[in-house]
Symmetry: C2
Subunit: 312 residues, 2 copies
């Protein structure tokens, strides 16, 4: 699946992943009321609204980008109907040729991590048959519990040729509270470097053609750390959140890429899916939210390409 992600990125020329993190306030009135008419002002109605919204976004961007990243929290908040909308979204995006990164940030101890890995990337056994639960192509993984919590994901990735992105340095302001702490028994290097070294080790064990099935999440908001981590994890794709709404810009991103112009994929969520609510794209109106998203993707691609052209 890492090979297909790399191919998709080369084909589109866009190292971009669109975060499908639908919030009710992003969803145009018309889509909401249509969903409520059919399913009531209920969890089912809310879930239908986010699914219809997603569908139209995906239809407008699927030829431009290599991948999407639905954030499962935004679906879980609508309970079981929300989780069903997550599954529909995953299935639809795959049908449209997109690589799907499930932003699930799961992580637990051995047998429990195994259940998460099976549910999101693998297949569960029932009476001798096997079934895929959610069936994303990649999943994000929280490493806080240690390598015995990550390894069950590696096992499933190997079997299924799928991949993970391990949280190494997140994009939020509070990420430093634990992730930046200096470790005295590791030459006073920060914790995120230790995690980065773990990722590099796992990455070596699970290589695709040119990059590994094991990637890392490193926030665009910390470009200098990105430079260091790029060096520590040369074979890992870096999933870079924090572009746009969180403050990251094209020029901050160049350190996350390798000299081959590959090795990083930059996420933008509300900057794309709610573009029509920005002044810049307001002309599209709420009806044109899909076209606004498309225009925002094109602008983001140009911003990143310009930054890369100036540097690499």
């Amino acid at each position: 699946m890492i090979n297909r992600l790399v191919e998709n990125i080369k084909r589109t020329g866009a190292p971009i992943v669109v975060g499908l993190d639908p919030m009710m306030r992003f969803i145009p009135e018309k889509i909401q009321s249509r969903a409520f008419q059919e399913y009531g002002e209920t969890l089912e109605g809310g879930a239908e609204a986010i699914w219809q919204f997603n569908k139209e976004i995906v239809d407008h961007i699927c030829d431009l980008v290599p991948a999407v990243k639905p954030q499962i929290a935004m679906y879980e908040q609508f309970g079981v109907p929300g989780v069903a909308a997550f599954q529909k979204t995953v299935d639809y995006c795959k049908k449209k040729g997109l690589v799907v990164i499930g932003d699930i940030k799961r992580g637990d101890i051995g047998s429990t991590s195994e259940a998460y890995a099976v549910g999101h990337l693998g297949k569960v056994k029932i009476a001798g048959k096997t079934f895929a639960g959610f069936d994303e192509d990649f999943a994000t993984v929280n490493p806080y519990l240690g390598s015995d919590g990550v390894k069950p994901f590696l096992k499933v990735c190997q079997e299924e040729k799928k991949g993970i992105f391990v949280l190494v340095k997140t994009s939020n302001p509070g990420s430093g509270e634990l992730q930046d702490r200096l470790i005295s028994d590791a030459d006073n290097r920060p914790l995120y470097e230790i995690v980065g070294e773990q990722v590099a080790g796992w990455a070596d064990e699970l290589m695709g053609d040119s990059y590994s099935y094991v990637g890392a999440v490193v926030g665009a908001t910390y470009p200098q750390m990105g430079r260091t981590l790029r060096r520590i994890m040369p074979k890992s794709y870096i999933l870079v959140p924090g572009y746009g709404a969180q403050g990251g810009k094209g020029k901050d991103l160049v350190h996350f890429f390798n000299e081959d112009g590959l090795g990083a994929i930059v996420n933008s969520s509300r900057g794309i899916i709610a573009a029509y609510q920005q002044e810049k794209y307001a002309g599209f109106g709420p009806e044109g939210f899909g076209q606004a998203a498309r225009a925002a993707v094109e602008d983001m691609r140009a911003d990143i390409r310009q930054a890369l052209d100036e540097t690499l």
Copy 2:
């Protein structure tokens, strides 16, 4: 809800939470085949089997214990039908008077953590109305992303009078890889102490009658760390996994309690729900798995009470 947890613990005399982590291999043949007859050998059939299994376990233990802890990973592996079985289990346990700790180990950045908090402990807004998604009483939270990832949970806990258990020191062998690292800018104390101090701060801000809505997870497998963390977080309930199957024993647990005999609740999952598969309880047979679970709870309660009586 922390007040009700403490009341339930006093009433039952059992500082025990039963982990509802159903795996197919725990579920007696008869329950499986009945579920498959009705729903087929499908994800739905698997989900029905774990739900029927849970129901019978809960019926046999609900008067003996204060709380249950369904591990959502075990349900997510069955996809959407599994998540629906999770919800049914949560609802049923609450109807039976049990406090429900959703072992979800979620944690993300601000708005995303808010969505998780809303989905599992709070209410989502749809067209001016509010709806609960999963509606557990407590949830476990991963602190790796920093306090801006935890605070949205605190906000919802305050509104809903619900609680969280923050992962401080997990029970698995690999937990030390990150959690035990010594932090040079904090007098070479381990990372879990730093997290414990954060928990103590959050706990002070959100007090119930005698204990806080903000608790911590500390593994039974590390009793000496439990002693230190008990001191650092005097007002936090400690959720202690790792008893039984993972190797923790009654005598390892005493350091997790305060002198009032309260302050800790010990989890056992397969040691209870799959008790009938142990030699000790084999006499109950697969048909008697509920009674075996009940006997295992009684033995666990006696083990813990003896250890506490000898020490406190």
